[in-house]
């Protein structure tokens, strides 16, 4: 009997939770705010679903109810992707070490 592909995805999911657990515990507390903004940005990879939905319309009707929701989701996710990564970068650029050459 073949294993349902769902089981494989579930395995990936469970193992990723464990990876997340160990990786996040190793994040230094002073970077917890950038951690939240970068997790925001990466969870917007949900945009792949939005793109599929947006491109699903046929050539006669680009816009139907389903694809409109897709387009809106693209914009929402894009705000998060650009906003999340850029604000994280802006924050991380501010973390500086003590200058030794005084």
């Amino acid at each position: 009997m073949e294993i349902d592909p769902f089981i494989f995805r579930l395995s990936i999911f469970i193992l990723s939770i464990f990876i997340g657990y160990y990786v996040v515990w190793s994040v230094t507390p002073s970077l917890h705010t950038p951690l939240m903004s970068v997790t925001n940005a990466i969870s917007s990879v949900i945009i792949v679903g939005a793109i599929i939905a947006g491109l699903a319309g046929n050539s006669e009707s680009v816009f139907n109810t389903s694809s409109i929701f897709g387009f809106l989701a693209i914009s929402l996710a894009a705000i998060n992707i650009f906003g999340g990564f850029l604000v994280t970068q802006r924050m991380l650029a501010m973390y500086k070490k003590k200058k030794k050459d005084k």
């Binding site: 994040v27 970077l31 950038p34 694809s67 989701a73 996710a77």
Partner: protein, 465 residues
């Protein structure tokens, strides 16, 4: 058009890059590289999605337009936002992830063929369960984050909103969500899908209103976690590895942060979620204490004390963010350092309105991160320090947490500020902090209260140094 297997491999690669992005945050040196990994992962995921669809004639231009609109808004916000407003920004971003998850679920429900999930009215059972869970969690994330945003922004009062029968009502709604998912799967009727969304929006709203403004660090972390689970739910529907991995990462990240925040307040997660903290009675207690004598001083006194110190520890809190005093504070510290006084910063886990909030503000003011310490790292140093400068913090310094088992904050880890030779406490008035309890530190022999706006007082001290 690339094959399904090849695109699956690329999604896996971007998932791995996202793991590396979080891994990079283990130290500030590697963090910038980590962020770059995250960006590359995202570019790969989006490019592969375009290639795997391969349908470029019809909607492609619109996809780009909407992508650009969102991107421009996001970039604009990211550059304009002041660092003190990070909690609001993050809450706002969470709501967008939640809403995007809801929209994708709606598209998938209306047009399942595009996602290979079956036909409308006959969607594969597993997919239907996955997408309804994703949609429900997404809706909760959305409305919950909106409330958190409004509370942080001050548009809505930070005070907990409680009413009779709140908890039974919430429990009832949560049960109805499960029943609706069951009915939806049994009947495939769109009505149940819309009803499910409506009820989920409602519960997100109801879950966050009873939580007080000062518990926002927990709420934001929790919503962070929800946004991850919502993404994972959609990831299962779309059979997309990158989304599943990311969802799991973000979900566990938010959960860990919530745990750290709860521990920092010595409260159980459920205690915070059930809410109403800060509305508790303590008034009789504090009014009797109001009479106790307090030593208050001005900027000259404070400057004198600090000039004669050899080491100073600074304890910043939310009040510093409100007063935007971080730059003035750094200038004061610079002057102190010129006089060969050793200065370090002590940060309590729940200082501010979100995890790590104080660290970002200090970094913005050019404070080197190796001068900033966490509670466990620095707590023993207070006994050897000459001056503790408490600016905008309150409850996290209250010694009552160690001495009075009756106190609502008993057992909460606090900074041992009172062990310093002298304590300078910048505060506008003697009013208690969010926990509604008096701070014993105000009345200690070695405490000097500086009643003023944090920014103005800090600037005045610098002038007198």
């Amino acid at each position: 058009m690339i094959s399904v297997n090849l695109s699956a491999i690329f999604y896996l690669i971007s998932g791995v890059l996202f793991i590396l992005a979080l891994r990079g945050l283990s130290s500030p040196e590697t963090s910038r590289q980590g962020n770059l990994f995250g960006i590359i992962g995202m570019i790969i995921a989006i490019t592969v999605t375009f290639l795997s669809i391969g349908n470029f004639q019809s909607g492609f231009i619109f996809v780009l337009i909407f992508l650009l609109i969102g991107g421009l808004i996001g970039a604009f916000v990211a550059y304009k936002i002041p660092m003190t407003a990070m909690p609001e920004l993050v809450a706002g971003f969470h709501s967008l992830v939640g809403l995007a998850a809801v929209f994708v679920a709606i598209s998938a429900f209306l047009n399942p063929e595009a996602f290979n999930l079956g036909t409308p009215g006959n969607i594969k059972l597993g997919s239907l369960i996955e997408m309804s869970i994703g949609a429900a969690v997404g809706a909760i994330t959305f409305s919950g984050s909106i409330i958190a945003f409004l509370k942080l922004q001050g548009i809505m009062s930070g005070a907990p909103i409680t009413f009779k029968g709140q908890h039974p009502l919430n429990a009832l709604i949560l049960i109805s969500i499960i029943i609706l998912i069951y009915l939806l799967c049994a009947s495939q009727s769109p009505n149940f899908f819309w009803l499910l969304l409506a009820v989920s929006f409602l519960i997100g709203f109801l879950l966050i209103i009873p939580i007080g403004g000062a518990d926002m660090p927990v709420v934001i972390s929790m919503l962070n976690s929800y946004s991850g689970w919502a993404a994972a739910g959609i990831g299962f529907t779309l059979e997309n590895t990158a989304l599943i991995i990311t969802g799991a990462l973000v979900g566990s990240s938010g959960a860990i942060l919530s745990y750290i925040m709860c521990k920092g307040m010595n409260r159980s997660f459920f205690n915070v979620i059930l809410g109403g903290f800060g509305a508790t009675e303590q008034s009789a207690n504090s009014s009797s204490k109001e009479q106790r004598p307090v030593k208050s001083g001005n900027a000259e006194d404070a400057a004198f004390l600090m000039k004669n110190a050899s080491s100073v520890i600074i304890v910043p809190g939310y009040g510093m963010a409100v007063a935007q005093a971080q730059h003035a504070l750094r200038e004061m510290v610079d002057t102190l350092k010129k006089n060969d006084i050793k200065v370090s910063y002590a940060i309590h886990p729940v200082a501010g309105r979100m995890p790590g909030h104080m660290n970002v503000l200090l970094a913005e003011a050019n404070v080197p991160y190796d001068e900033v310490f966490e509670l466990e790292e620095i707590n023993n140093d207070f006994a050897n320090a000459d001056v503790a400068f408490v600016i905008g913090a309150n409850d996290v310094t209250n010694p009552v947490a160690k001495t009075d088992p009756q106190s609502p904050i008993y057992g909460m880890p606090v900074l041992d500020v009172e062990k310093c030779k002298s304590v300078l406490f910048v505060k506008r008035s003697l009013s208690p902090g969010y926990a509604g309890i008096d701070n014993d530190l105000f009345y200690k022999e070695n405490t000097l209260m500086l009643f003023a706006d944090a920014k103005k007082m800090t600037e005045d001290i610098t002038k007198n140094l």
